[in-house]
């Protein structure tokens, strides 16, 4: 057994599919996680906010190769070129249903279930020849994809329901936040007939994807990787500002509701009967017990809330010619600002595969 993946969500499945495409057999990979279904955690949150469409585009899927993308699949299924044309114009966003169906097929084809072990890993320990995971191992190559550490809940709103938890809508709903989940909740609550009060500290940022497009490729990453640690942290802080895509599909319902007096913006919650906090996730490795222990036990370099990584998402102090420890998902932002997207998952997965291949 040479490879291990810690975590069993979407990022883990992307990494697993990439390893499989690189020729690593299921018997050589162990996936440690709490959910056998890699879509479960994400799907639960998407269902909670009643998300219909992905923010990602045609290549936002979990298979190792980006082509054929979801637009191609949909075009074939519908017998229509429209998804392809929409994709060329950056107007294609797959449905959540299509994304999940494709993820299920990736899971089935890749042999994921053969490698999955239902176990939460508490500790990663560097040893000769690799890493031990709670005493198991050693594994020469470990990919850590534990996901977001938890939901961010404002301290002053202990009774509020988080957007990513199941909920219904009363006649008047106060929604805290200004990102993608908040915008989705505004539309959901309006569609359910509620009056919506948007509580936010700043005007929402409108951006098609989580980060500007050049930062998804080497073109933008080059200067990001070359910047000094504080500049890099500043960039990451700026990019973590909540945003949602531009477009009439978002603006028109809000404008109409505003005219009808059913949507307004407020600075404070001010005793509202139902409060939904669309405030995303907790930030930083310290919120993740496994990563916090990894840093403390091995004296890893950190900067503010980020673990300092090499540009290929590996932990420099624990990676050499014979072994590698890679981070995927949100914890890998130091290497890839959009690490918590599918593109980010694949970026880390590709780099991890290169490490694995190098030591075969």
């Amino acid at each position: 057994m040479r490879c291990a993946i810690v975590g069993s969500g979407l990022v883990a499945l992307a990494a697993y599919a990439t390893l499989r495409r690189g020729g690593v057999a299921p018997g050589d990979i162990s996936v440690f996680g709490t959910h056998a279904d890699p879509t479960e955690a994400w799907r639960t949150r998407a269902e909670a906010i009643r998300q219909q469409r992905m923010r990602s585009e045609s290549d936002g899927h979990l298979a190792a190769q980006s082509f054929p993308g979801l637009a191609v699949h949909e075009a074939v299924r519908r017998g229509s070129p429209m998804p392809l044309l929409a994709s060329v114009a950056n107007r294609y966003h797959p449905s959540v249903g299509d994304f999940l169906a494709h993820a299920r097929s990736v899971r089935a084809r890749s042999g994921w279930d053969e490698s999955f072990r239902a176990r939460r890993i508490e500790r990663i320990q560097a040893v000769g020849g690799g890493f031990e995971l709670d005493g198991d191992g050693p594994f020469a190559h470990v990919f850590v994809a534990t996901g977001h550490p938890g939901l961010a809940r404002p301290d002053d709103l202990p009774a509020a329901v988080h957007a990513y938890e199941p909920h219904e809508y009363g006649p008047q709903v106060t929604i805290v936040g200004a990102g993608m989940a908040a915008a989705t909740e505004w539309l959901n609550a309006l569609a359910a007939g509620a009056e919506v009060i948007s509580v936010r500290r700043r005007e929402p940022l409108r951006r098609p994807l989580n980060v500007p497009r050049p930062l998804f490729s080497k073109r933008g990453l080059g200067s990001f990787h070359a910047s000094n640690p504080e500049a890099r942290a500043t960039t990451l802080r700026e990019l973590s500002t909540p945003s949602y895509p531009p477009g009439a599909a978002w603006d028109e319902p809000l404008r109409a509701a505003e005219q009808d007096g059913r949507f307004r913006v407020a600075r404070e919650v001010n005793g509202a009967p139902q409060v939904i906090t669309a405030t995303g996730f907790e930030h930083g490795f310290r919120r993740d017990p496994l990563l916090a222990d990894l840093v403390d036990a091995h004296g890893l370099t950190t900067h503010d809330r980020w673990i300092v990584l090499a540009s290929d998402s590996t932990v420099p102090a624990l990676t050499d010619a014979t072994r590698s420890l890679s981070l995927g998902g949100v914890a890998a932002q130091w290497a890839f600002p959009a690490a918590d997207t599918i593109a980010g998952a694949k970026y880390a997965a590709h780099a991890h595969l290169r490490r694995v291949c190098r030591t075969r």
Partner: protein, 383 residues
């Protein structure tokens, strides 16, 4: 896609492979030269413009950028005097463009999953491919240069007729008494021919180009082509010696590649351009004061006449006749005159189909031609 400069270059060089293969299969120098020009123009734009202006290039941008590159490629071809048949050249360009799209959106991401995040860079395979493509293109250009026919510069007036039996480029000067071409790969540029029966006589030859030739005072055909494939561009035919002189006559060349006649000016002859049993593209010519017909596409020819101006022809402006199939579009026919006989087919007809001919016409402008557009004798005109 957010390309790096290296990614743009590697992707472009690798994606040109299908067009390069097509060019090699065509087995003509102009095709290799066209691919080389496409590459040079594209790489220059990559380095000087796209990389600086386009931090992110959406998929739809390939359409306007493809149009821009096509215009620049056309301009460079024209500037370098590379004479490529338009339809084939457009086909080759379209092949290259389409291949580039398929490669960028499907083939490269399929073969190299990190293609997008690598900014279009193709890794070691890409570098190797780039080297191979560059070597093949440079090799092709080198071979074209090394095997190019000798160039003979004529100075002043030379007594003809000149008989050309080997590939060569003849340029400049004036030839008295005509030029006879009996070899493939002959280029005649900026030569004036005065007198003789046929001004330039091309028989049993391919890859012959007549570039900006002037033919004056001949007694039969200014340019006489039999069983040959020629490209005639920018020629001038005038001052015929006698009433039976024809401008350009391309006949019995159906077994050869398509010929083209473009941007010529022909005045005062019996028929301006005549074809028999041939396939010819006739584009952008000016034909004036003919005494029989302006353009005559005849005897089972398959021709296209597009963008020509036929002025003051006696009897008929453009004729498609005798089982020919003609595509006649975007021409201007003005002042076609009634010839004074009782022949109904010569009553100042601008565009005519005659004797089992099939003419497809569209977007032509007919001015002051009393006969209008007509079909005779079991012919069909479709619009």
């Amino acid at each position: 896609m957010s390309y790096t400069l290296r990614g743009r270059i590697e992707s472009r060089l690798a994606a040109v492979l299908p067009a390069l293969a097509a060019a090699l299969a065509l087995h003509t120098w102009w095709a290799i030269e066209l691919v080389a020009v496409m590459l040079v123009v594209g790489l220059a734009l990559d380095a000087l413009l796209y990389d600086r202006v386009l931090a992110y290039q959406p998929g739809w941008a390939a359409v306007p950028l493809g149009g821009l590159e096509l215009a620049l490629v056309y301009g460079v071809l024209h500037g370098l005097g590379i004479m490529a048949p338009l339809a084939w050249a457009l086909g080759l360009y379209a092949t290259g463009w389409l291949a580039a799209q398929i490669c960028a959106h499907a083939v490269f991401p399929r073969l190299r999953p990190e293609y997008g995040e690598a900014g279009g860079e193709l890794g070691r395979v890409g570098s190797l491919t780039a080297v191979v493509v560059t070597a093949v293109v440079l090799g092709g250009l080198g071979a074209a240069y090394a095997t190019r026919p000798p160039t003979i510069h004529l100075h002043g007036t030379v007594q003809g007729p000149l008989v050309i039996r080997h590939p060569e480029t003849l340029t400049g000067g004036t030839v008295l008494g005509g030029i006879v071409v009996r070899s493939n790969k002959v280029n005649i540029r900026h030569v004036t021919v005065v007198g003789g029966e046929n001004g330039i006589d091309v028989e049993h030859a391919s890859h012959v180009t007549l570039d900006h030739v002037r033919v004056l005072h001949v007694t039969m055909d200014a340019i006489h082509v039999r069983d040959s494939a020629v490209m005639v561009d920018g020629c001038t035919v005038a001052a015929p010696s006698g009433a039976w002189v024809q401008g350009i006559d391309i006949s019995y060349s159906m077994g050869r590649a398509m010929s083209t006649i473009s941007h010529c000016t022909i005045a005062g002859v019996r028929e301006g351009i005549v074809t028999h049993s041939s396939t010819v593209e006739i584009m952008g010519n000016r034909i004036l004061d003919t005494t029989l017909r302006g353009i005559s596409l005849g005897e089972m020819s398959m021709d296209m006449a597009e963008g020509n101006e036929v002025t003051a022809a006696l009897g008929v402006g453009i004729l498609c006749e005798d089982h020919s199939m003609c595509q006649i579009e975007h021409n201007t026919v003005a002042g076609t005159r009634v010839d004074g006989t009782q022949d109904l087919a010569r009553q100042g007809i601008a565009i005519e189909a005659h004797y089992y001919a099939q003419a497809r016409i569209a977007h032509n402008t007919v001015v002051a031609s009393p006969g209008g557009v007509r079909a005779f004798d079991n012919s069909v005109i479709t619009r």
